[in-house]
């Protein structure tokens, strides 16, 4: 309190106000950085660890990825006369050890980070022009938001968040 008596001019706050107003009017290199997600997307790096993909013709089903998975989320299963790795995405922690240790180099990450449901909802929002969305689209959008996993579901019905 004795301190404030000595700083009547509040110069520090004034300085702060100048900084914030500069941002408000975008003076200097202070652009808006928000990415309006459904309409525009950020660039994903080349090495991004998204969902997994396997080249069907080259995978030999050796099981090294299964052995190296820290979370036991990979299983080698039979599919169309061959043995292929199957990844439980809900359990996967995207460490990339399976991709690194694949002897054929065919186990890969693809740059897909959203699931079908998400894509559907985003498409709905994307189709709307100029930000005005129809009631149906609004409902779809709300459903998309609600099913992201925060809302409890009925027992027996899995949340869409883990059901990819």
């Amino acid at each position: 309190m004795t301190w404030i008596n000595r700083n009547w001019l509040m110069l520090g706050i004034m300085k702060g106000l100048v900084v914030t107003i500069k941002h408000f009017f975008k003076i200097g290199n202070r652009p808006v950085v928000t990415v309006q997600y459904p309409y525009e997307r950020m660039e994903i790096a080349q090495r991004f660890r998204g969902l997994h993909s396997v080249d069907k013709n080259k995978c030999i089903g050796c099981g090294i990825c299964e052995m190296n998975c820290p979370n036991n989320s990979i299983q080698i299963v039979r599919h169309n006369k061959g043995w292929y790795p199957q990844v439980k995405i809900g359990q996967c922690m995207f460490c990339g050890l399976c991709v690194d240790t694949c002897p054929m180099g065919q186990f890969q990450f693809i740059h897909v980070i959203t699931t079908r449901l998400h894509n559907k909802a985003h498409k709905q929002v994307k189709q709307s022009k100029g930000g005005i969305i129809t009631f149906h689209q609004l409902l779809e959008y709300l459903r998309f938001n609600l099913t992201l996993g925060t809302v409890p579901h009925n027992h027996g019905q899995r949340g869409h968040g883990t059901n990819f």
Binding site: W3, I4, N7, M10, L11, G12, I13, K15, G16, V19, T20, H23, N29, V33, I44, A45, Q46, R47, F48, R49, N68, P70, M93, F94, C95, G96, L97, D100, T101, F109
Partner: protein, 368 residues
């Protein structure tokens, strides 16, 4: 005199300013804190037990989940313990790359710290500015490792991959831009009278207590003890780099905040040197071959590094098999948090929020 009655106030585990799931049980007299008790363990995942059933390489991604704000330093601390255990040396270019990402990680951590601290004090703007700049560093990390938070990049024997195309230029541009951003934070925050009113003179911890409580990192340096493991017990290539230890002797929260601001600038300085070295040096970034089945000799090793939050140590005991026999984690947040009751005794509950913000913990690190 009117008589007052003490009461118990439960703060957390779900509360806006506990930075996760920590629970305080406060004994209060009005707004004044008489006694603080902390209930931990809501985020306990048993990482030390998990380590006993994973191979040495498989445990690296788990260390990302320790202090999930600065994953690079966690990776490095564990990796260093394993390398000490098995006597692996890493090519110098790899070491410089590690230092670069660790120092950038330190800036990331301190930016998040600055943002959340002032969010706790109800200023919502700093966190947005900090996250804007943090995002740029995370982009770099993403281009290096493929992830933004859980990197799994530094691993025994080196790093996961060499730098991608255009990395040097992008990093250099970023290192050029960041100092002006940090100056802007300082302009916005450092002289603000209300911030000074809130932060000065609270959360005092004198040097003797700080050492005795095992407080480390910026918390210790804010108490006037000039100690930095990078300087005093150098690891990696830090003894070849030029930087200074930021110390302040005021012992209060404001000093600890200013130290983090200074450390960001120092880290930028280190990162520049490391980047120059990466450009200058030729050669691989990791040992040519790290065995898939890795069985180090019997023995034990303890390695500690200066993580952004303090001293992060890994104690690994090997019984000669594929899995570590025991991994013990000395997490900075856990040990720094222990001194909190001492620091907030007799303060107001609003000060608890500020002091707790300044301790800069990560609950993943506390509970492991």
């Amino acid at each position: 005199m009117t008589e007052t009655e003490e009461f118990t106030l439960n703060v957390g585990p779900v509360h806006p300013s506990t930075h996760g799931v920590l629970r305080f049980v406060l004994r209060m007299d009005g707004e004044t804190i008489k006694d603080t008790e902390m209930v931990l363990g809501q985020l306990h995942r048993g990482l030390e037990k998990i380590a006993e059933s994973r191979s040495y390489l498989q445990f690296v991604p788990y260390t990302d989940r320790l202090d999930y704000i600065s994953g690079m330093t966690n990776n490095y601390a564990y990796t260093k313990a394993v390398e000490d255990l098995a006597g692996i040396t890493v090519p110098r270019r790899g070491e410089y790359l590690r230092v670069l990402v660790m120092e950038l990680g330190r800036i990331v951590n301190h930016m998040l710290f600055t943002g959340t601290l002032f969010l706790d004090l109800a200023a919502s703007t700093p966190i947005m500015y900090c996250f804007r700049d943090r995002h740029n560093i995370l982009e770099l990390f993403e281009s290096l490792s493929g992830a933004r938070i859980t990197f799994n990049y530094i691993r025994p024997g080196g790093v996961r991959g060499d730098i991608p195309e255009g990395f040097i230029d992008k990093t250099r541009a970023l290192l050029k831009e960041l100092p002006s951003r940090i100056d802007e934070y300082a302009e916005l925050l450092n002289d603000n009278e209300i911030i000074k009113m809130r932060l000065k003179g609270i959360g005092m911890l004198n040097p003797k207590d700080a050492i005795n409580y095992g407080v480390t990192g910026p918390m210790l340096r804010g108490s006037g003890v000039s100690h930095d493991i990078r300087k005093d017990d150098p690891y990696s290539v830090y003894d070849e780099l030029d930087f200074k230890v930021c110390t302040r002797s005021e012992c209060d929260t404001y000093a600890r905040y200013i130290i983090r601001m200074d450390e960001m600038r120092e880290s930028l300085h280190i990162a520049e040197q490391a980047l120059d070295a990466i450009e200058r040096l030729q050669g691989p970034v990791s040992t040519s071959y790290f065995p898939r089945i890795f069985k180090p000799a019997r023995g034990e090793s303890y390695s500690r590094i200066e993580a952004p939050k303090g001293e992060l140590g890994f104690y690994i005991v090997s019984d000669g098999s594929e899995h570590p026999y025991r991994v013990k984690i000395r997490s900075p947040s856990f040990c720094n948090l222990m001194a909190l009751p001492q620091m907030v005794k007799g303060l107001k509950i609003s000060d608890l929020v500020a002091v707790f913000g300044i301790v800069d913990i990560c609950l993943g690190d506390v509970d492991r």
